[in-house]
Amino acid sequence: DAGVTQSPTHLIKTRGQQVTLRCSPISGHKSVSWYQQVLGQGPQFIFQYYEKEERGRGNFPDRFSARQFPNYSSELNVNALLLGDSALYLCASSWIQGPTEAFFGQGTRLTVV
C-alpha cells in the first residue's frame, strides 16, 4: 500500500505569491493534518481535516487555508507569501479523528525568496 504522498517535493516562490501544496492520505484514512516545520524546530500544527470538515486550526494567519476533497486528499494554500513561510510542510494522515498515531508524507520544502 502506498504511504502518504505529497507534491511537489520542492518549491521556490517569490514573496507575495500564492502556493498550493497537495497531499494524498493512506488508503482508508479519513483524517489529514498539515504541519509546518521550520529548520531546527519541531513541526507546528496548522490544520486538521476529518470527513472533509475542518476539525482543528493552529495559530497561523488567515493567509493559510486548506480543504479536503471527497477522496480525502487535501490541499494547503498559502497566500501573500512571506520569507518566514519558508519551511518544510508536512502532511499526516490517520484513520480517525482523536488521539491516535499519524503517518507522515515526505514533505514539501518551500523556499520563499
Partner: protein
C-alpha cells in the same frame, strides 16, 4: 494547552551501545497518546513507538522501548544496540482530545563507530 519538552538538543552514542532520550510534557488531560518519531536527513517523519496512556505496561518495539511515568509526566525512549541507521532527529509528541500532535523541539542523535 499541552507542551512537550526535550531537554537534550544533541546526543551521541557508539554503535551497539544503549542510549536514552528524555521527554517531559504537561497536560490536564487524563487519557492521551504519546509518541516518538524519528526524522532522518531524508526528512520523512517515521513513527518509532507509541504509548497509550491508559495502559500501564511500557511499550516496546524491537530495540526501542519507553519508560512512561504518568505521574511525573515523563516519557523517555531507550534505544538498545544502537545502529548507524538510528542517526536522526528524534521528536517526542503528544496527542490528546484535540487529536493534533504537539511536538517537542527534538534531539539530534548521532551514532558513531
Amino acid at each position: 494547552a499541552q507542551t512537550v519538552t526535550q531537554s537534550q538538543p544533541e546526543m551521541s552514542v557508539q554503535e551497539a551501545e544503549t542510549v536514552t532520550l528524555s521527554c517531559t510534557y504537561d497536560t490536564s488531560e487524563n487519557n492521551y497518546y504519546l509518541f516518538w518519531y524519528k526524522q532522518p536527513p531524508s526528512r520523512q517523519m517515521i513513527l518509532v513507538i507509541r504509548q497509550e496512556t491508559y495502559k500501564q505496561q511500557n511499550a516496546t518495539e524491537n530495540r526501542f522501548s519507553v519508560n512512561f511515568q504518568k505521574a511525573a509526566k515523563s516519557f523517555s525512549l531507550k534505544i538498545s544496540d544502537s545502529q548507524l541507521g538510528d542517526t536522526a532527529m528524534y521528536f517526542c509528541a503528544f496527542s490528546g482530545t484535540a487529536s493534533k500532535l504537539t511536538f517537542g523541539t527534538g534531539t539530534r542523535l548521532q551514532v558513531t563507530l
